[in-house]
């Protein structure tokens, strides 16, 4: 059964697009035929992070408006065979992402893809709502700060009440908490919420913790999803997330500061 997975958060700048790119890549690397869709009409970041911005000719709104066939708008990823990108439009009206149109596109994609990853814009209207409405599963991206947790809580409320699955009384959307930009040192110092604090409020299963790392910025500047980075915590953490999503049992990593300290003591590193 093909799956529609929304990457959502309410708040902007928390790492949804970074996550969409790496998560979709990870799914493709594990053999799933995957497409990742940019719902952020107007901002259009995903193609930059995937490094395919120069190949964007048509976008999702051209397809919704029936101006081109879906096949014409899909861009094949340069790193993986199994991965395609459906870009957002830079200029057009956000309202063009209407539910009917999005539903038609998703139905068509389900005929040839196993996983459809929807990169949601910030907020809870228009594009964000269209991105989450058809979801089977949701990665709720949350930073360890109160305002981000609050917005994730709001998104979870909407998923539980207004998604297609909720409205039609089907099995509820499967919710996964993904904590990103996690800095165990600052958490230990009490400057940020801990994973436990976040879970205590949101009360949904944790699928992973992505550490804060400068390598993310380098990756996005070079148009390479962070999961491809060599010897990077962020890449490892995203691989773990994909593995857990596929049902593997993988212990949580990158959540405690002590571990780093211990390694440092053992190897005398800095």
């Amino acid at each position: 059964m093909p799956k529609v997975i929304v990457v959502t958060s309410g708040k902007g700048g928390v790492g949804k697009t970074t996550t969409s790119a790496s998560f979709a890549t990870g799914l493709a690397l594990r053999g799933n035929k995957t497409v990742v869709i940019d719902f952020d009409v107007g901002l259009r970041n995903l193609d930059l992070i995937m490094g395919c911005e120069r190949r964007v000719v048509y976008d999702i709104i051209n397809v919704i408006n029936g101006e081109v066939a879906l096949k014409q708008a899909l861009i094949k990823d340069k790193h993986c065979d199994n991965l395609y990108v459906l870009p957002a439009s830079q200029t057009r009206d956000k309202d063009a992402l209407n539910l009917d149109g999005v539903g038609r596109i998703l139905d068509e994609l389900k005929e040839s893809f196993d996983c459809i990853v929807c990169d949601s814009p910030a907020g809870i209207e228009h594009g964000a709502f269209s991105a989450m409405y058809y979801a089977d599963e949701a990665l709720v991206v949350t930073n360890p700060e109160v305002s981000s947790v609050r917005d994730s809580d709001r998104i979870l409320g909407i998923l539980a009440a207004k998604s297609k699955r909720a409205v039609e009384g089907l099995e509820p959307v499967r919710e996964h908490l993904l904590v990103t930009r996690y800095d165990p040192k600052r958490v230990a110092a009490g400057e940020m919420l801990s994973v436990d604090d976040i879970q205590e409020i949101l009360r949904i299963p944790l699928i992973g913790v992505i550490p804060e790392s400068e390598s993310v910025l380098q990756a996005s500047n070079s148009g390479t999803p962070a999961i491809h980075l060599d010897k990077s915590d962020v890449a490892e953490a995203y691989r773990d997330v994909v593995a857990r999503f596929m049902g593997d049992e993988v212990p949580m990593r990158f959540t405690t500061y002590e571990k780093v300290g211990l390694l440092k003591r053992l190897f005398g590193g800095r």
């Binding site: 708040k11 910030a122 709001r154």
Partner: protein, 272 residues
């Protein structure tokens, strides 16, 4: 010739209406206090029919001075409060009300009316409305903001079964148990709102708002397994905790009830 099907019928109904008892002819003051009140419970009055109680004005010396009802009505409409009529007042005031398009509701002293009174001393500022960080500008027609009890059209209000919620109630969600008690088995997060015409029981932390006896039942109570609320109210009398929740009840299994006009929050004894 067949008789025509009746297109309507008229029946006497005993409908619940909030009464806003005016205590001063100074509409600017009324508006200012009302605005504070509404900020504390946005949506509480939304589309709710409200009658203006003028009885206390009739006795004042200035009872023949013209009331700026039109201004008040404008303001109320802006707040989505629906003024339907006036009760009491001097002949001049009632005439002004009729001119302003309001109904004249006969006084029926036997019927207890719901009270929505300004707090004795304007104790608190409105708690900050949950900030809509980064959620974009205006939010018309928000998806996902209300979960309401399914209306049970024919049953009298008292007979409605308890509304039981077994999933987390999250920021921006509102649960209304109309004419019923409300039982919540999962967490009620900050920014979530529970409203019941009867009692409210929460068998999990209460971090949002809970308003029991919403149509004026002063005997309604709230029971929360862990008291961490932003706001609690009984029959329109409410209490906010902008300076934190008192140590004695914080995080404790608590009950909340009305003692005269005071909202009492009390930890439950551990004894059996």
């Amino acid at each position: 010739m067949p008789r025509e099907e009746p297109a309507f019928k008229i029946k006497n109904a005993n409908l619940p209406v909030l009464v806003l008892h005016l205590k001063t002819p100074d509409m600017a003051r009324v508006r200012a206090q009302l605005e504070t009140r509404i900020k504390q419970m946005p949506d509480f009055f939304a589309h709710t029919p409200v009658a203006l109680g003028l009885a206390e004005l009739a006795g004042l010396a200035s009872s023949d001075a013209p009331l700026d009802l039109a201004g008040l009505l404008d303001f109320m409409r802006g707040q989505r409060m629906q003024a339907v009529g006036v009760i009491g007042g001097s002949a001049a005031q009632r005439e002004a009300a009729a001119l302003a398009g309001l109904g004249i509701i006969p006084e029926t002293p036997a019927r207890p009316a719901a009270v929505a009174e300004a707090a004795p001393e304007p104790v608190v500022e409105a708690p900050p409305a949950p900030p809509a960080q980064d959620l974009g500008p205006a939010q018309p027609d928000l998806p996902g903001l209300e979960v309401e009890a399914a209306p049970a059209p024919l049953a009298p209000p008292e007979a409605r079964p308890t509304l039981v919620i077994d999933k987390p109630v999250r920021t921006g969600q509102r649960i209304y148990a109309e004419g019923a008690n409300l039982v919540v088995l999962a967490i009620v997060n900050a920014g979530a709102e529970l409203i019941a015409d009867g009692d409210i029981h929460i068998y999990a932390p209460l971090r949002g708002r809970a308003l029991a006896g919403a149509r004026g039942n002063t005997a309604a109570r709230i029971y929360a397994q862990s008291m961490e609320a932003e706001l609690v109210a009984i029959a329109g009398y409410f209490q906010v905790f902008d300076e934190g929740i008192p140590e004695a009840v914080r995080g404790k299994f608590s009950q909340i009830y009305l003692d005269c006009d005071k909202v009492v929050v009390k930890a439950m004894a551990n004894k059996r």
